[in-house]
Symmetry: D3
């Protein structure tokens, strides 16, 4: 059930049976010479819709821009500052909590969002609590790329060439979702890896084409479908455990 | 050309020929008993993609949540505070300006966003200027529902029953985009109208089912297609004038 | 009744009979070669006092500096950032609401304030609501220069030479209020017009002497008095309708 | 020379001979049963104009609302939060510094503003410095009520009955400026004194009519004129020393 | 070399040979019935001083209060909001970077700080970059309790009774540092474990005495010394690798 | 009783008998060629512990970094912006007030903190009040260097050579606390004095070695002990008066 395709009386009915809502959150950032700039949002959105279908959960609109400051030296990347993203999350949760939503499950497609989202959850609980709302609100971070089955499949299919950014697994998933947007380009086999992430300029100096130890040329739409199915299954279970938690 | 479906080298190429980018911005808010909560985002996104196709412009990801604080007394509505939305826009513009984007065209689907977006543009120019960036960046607000042809068509089709929120024109457009999500419900013909907008609670007291003087039951997908075509045509011309402005 | 010239027991008495207060808000910004930098504040203040006398309303102190970032390339202009002005308005409203003021009527002399003020009103309602205050507070924006009679009179007296900034109508009003401060200077008849407003630097490049399509040399103190009287009359009626609104 | 009554070319000329500007800053807050709510702004404005006349300094528009959070339990008081006032001052200074103003002299009428203004000056220097502006900007705080001659005159005229808020000296000055707004009311001779200032509620509990140890019934317009003359003289000298400082 | 015990000329000399500085960061929060409220700060400070001695690094003053919002339902806990802590870190880094410090190594004693610190590092890089500073600044997060040797030793000494908060390992370390402050109290052997962390109220409901699955009664000062030595050794190596990174 | 060396049940017990807590606040800033960068924090911490012992008060962890923006042109100085420090103080007070702490006594070692702390206290009272907390919270600022006995002793020992920054009195106190960190260096007897404090760059231009009119070579550890004893005695009495205030 998609929030954007529902009416408010339908939401009111939904809240009779569940306090849960899923928000896909991605990023708008370079993903190497062949990866789509929207990769993280595309993956999160597709999986969130799948989880919504599997569980009957309400799925909110995708948060397309996240925390990608370190990618800004590549054209087309867009980022919120962490302090901005924290405010955004606080506003989302504060908007919906008075109506009865109290279980917020974020399906995340971008490693760079994790720290800020966790910080934002703390800020949101405190914000609601200080305003005298019930302290019953809970947020959960579901990173699809860190699901056990996803990790195992990536290992099996790509071994060390999975890398850490512009990975074949995420590229595969976007190929499954948007087969019309599969890109090819010569990829230097000598891909940088292992350097820590600091400023945007430092990032580009060390990762000159944007990849981090990955070989996205290995990706196929068929792989993408497998990742999709594994991720939907695992995150659906995770969402249901989250709702059931005492 | 969609930013989310492009690679960074493609963006780099694009910037050789154009400094323009279009961002659809909507809202996630109640649209009466039959209107979709995502109406404003759905309309803005569809039209922005159409304008992108017509003009070759780069189209960024949709900003799905805007300034809808006055709708928060209806379940399912989500809003940023104006001060948050200003930061978001400043971050978007500041991310892309250093790469060479200097013409930001926002296709807006929500009247409630207008004031905050205009304020945000001023803040963004000043922010960039104070940091020593070229003061060459320009933002433009393209409200599809205020395009002359759209207005005339709505008048012709619906007369006074167009109203001001949950209008048949916007509902029609969502029916054209998502025919599978056409909703029906009994609509009280005595719909409130003419009350100013203040707090969320005040809004709901005066507009009990969420509509403002509108009769969305008049909407049809065929109307929606006509609105879409008129809006794409007018906003494409507007976008091109914006790029050509000296 | 001026707040600044009242005692707190007098305010307490006033609140027994009315919850309304008027705040004049202007700007401190260039108004071309002959217009006063305080034009917008001077006009708003004079009209607000007139409305206060006509209606018995409490009139607060003038907000002399508004949102004029686009004028900052001319010396003497002062501006708040939109995000600052939003905080200022939230603080004003939050200060007075607990005492019983619930109808805030802003008499505005500057087009550049409109967007930010509207955004600020939304933020103020939400702020008060989230703190558990009654959501009964209402703000209204009364732009004197957009009053019907003012518009008609300007059209009649100046036709196309009214322009959009440093207009003869506002200059006339300041001449009426401060006849000792009437300035003259040669005005280039080829005045720029029609360019959109972006950054401060862009503004000055396109509007080299600060005027926007106007011929303030047409202004006279007698015109100013007529504008004053029309504006006071119309805004007094508007204020009373605002108080009477259900 | 008043900024509000000048044109931008006049400001440009002024800057050829002086980098100085004076801003009166007051407060909008209760001043006991007979003191005007605008007392602090009225005094600061009158003295600033006097100093402007005596020294030829540019005088900016009055900042009418300051930091008066502790007075908010009395109706009619308005306050900015300290964090808001800091932003306001940073915006003022940042607006004018690029044009060439580098000596900002604030004539202050309210003790409660002192701490926040000093903090704001530090924030403003740092803000400008971090943006790469010359670190040549200087701000000075001139509290008229702390001028030596003012203090001595108050001691001589009122002795211990000067008190610390709603003092006869400031009331006298407002009587001199606005003789038409002289208020009388029975004043309890047992006026509270000596309690520290904490929250607004605590303030009202300890200072039930708003005075702090003062007897404003002693004030006369003639006293007010003497305070005015002493303050103008001392602050004019102080302003000139400020400009001359190496 | 401790920053607090150095003079500025000594710092100037130090910068000739190293751009590195270590900041201990802890928290001020409940640590169960027997753990010290300052546990996280005490551990971080002791280890940081040890690393400073081992490597010759400059060690800054301890950041005693971190992100502990979820502990606030226990008396004595103090927390910054994440958005505040981000500003604090940005200010620290921005203060020292212009002087030549470019390698900031935070020795952290509190799991709850991790997310916010990572977010703060991103915000700091971006802040400096946007102001035109060299993007050469790097921050590193060294969590002593996650060092491999520490983990192994805790496993060996305490097995499953190490738990996740108020752990015997951190308690032991504080006993080593402050043997005069060893506390005892009856500890319920049925200690809660495994519940996720949400709001402060939720935390206290699920972890009634503040421990998370731990048995701090196992701690001894001798264990503490072993943890100290392992942590100093590992983090010293980590700090030196950080400085040597290309 | 030190908060950092207490358990939460001990804090709970303490609150049965007292609502008071003392926070030492210093600064991390240059103190001339021989003064320690941590001087202000060291002094505040030592005296606060002394006051805690003398009065049985709870003493919180030291706030090591304060408002020292004007010292940032000397390496090793660290500062919060005033707006950041205000947030920090608001967070501290808001964390502890719900648990029952209502008397916050800050022992301050740095003149540059005074304005911002006073502003922060006002912001904290208002913040708590607006959230509906009891407005019973009180903060007090105890500047040890302004205690009468301290001032007299400094006058007696050093006369005019006490100066205003890097004073022999504060240096002496650090020598008493850290006799192992006594520094010597040639001090130019022609020390600057009397220049107002503006930007960091301006400060360094006028105070080239960081001292302001002081001769810290006069300091001895024995003096330091005398200052310590006087300050502890006076501030203990002040703290007790603060608690006893009605």
């Amino acid at each position: 059930m998609q929030l954007q395709l529902s009416t408010w009386p339908e939401v009111e009915s939904y809240l009779q049976s569940s306090p849960g809502i899923i928000f896909p959150i991605g990023s708008t950032e370079q993903h190497g010479p062949t990866g789509l700039i929207g990769t993280d949002a595309i993956c999160a959105e597709a999986i969130a819709k799948g989880v919504g279908e599997a569980t009957g959960a309400m799925v909110g609109p995708t948060i397309n821009v996240g925390m990608a400051l370190h990618h800004l030296a590549f054209p087309g990347s867009v980022s919120l500052r962490p302090s901005t993203l924290i405010r955004v999350i606080v506003d989302y949760v504060s908007s919906l909590a008075p109506a009865g939503f109290s279980r917020f499950y974020f399906i995340n497609g971008h490693g760079g969002n994790i720290a800020t989202l966790k910080a934002a959850f703390s800020e949101a609980y405190h914000h609601l609590g200080s305003l005298g709302h019930s302290q019953n609100v809970r947020c959960h971070l579901g990173n699809w790329f860190m699901a056990r089955g996803v990790y195992q499949l990536a290992k099996e299919l790509y071994g060390d060439q999975e890398g850490h950014h512009a990975t074949p697994s995420e590229v595969a998933l976007t190929q499954f979702v948007y087969p019309e947007a599969i890109k090819t380009a010569p990829l230097n086999p000598e891909v940088a890896s292992g350097h820590s992430i600091y400023s945007a300029q430092d990032f580009r100096e060390h990762y000159s084409d944007g990849r981090m130890g990955s070989n996205p040329a290995l990706a196929t739409p068929e792989h993408g479908q497998r990742f999709y199915e594994v991720a939907v299954k695992e995150l659906s279970e995770s969402y249901q455990r989250f709702l059931a938690e005492n």
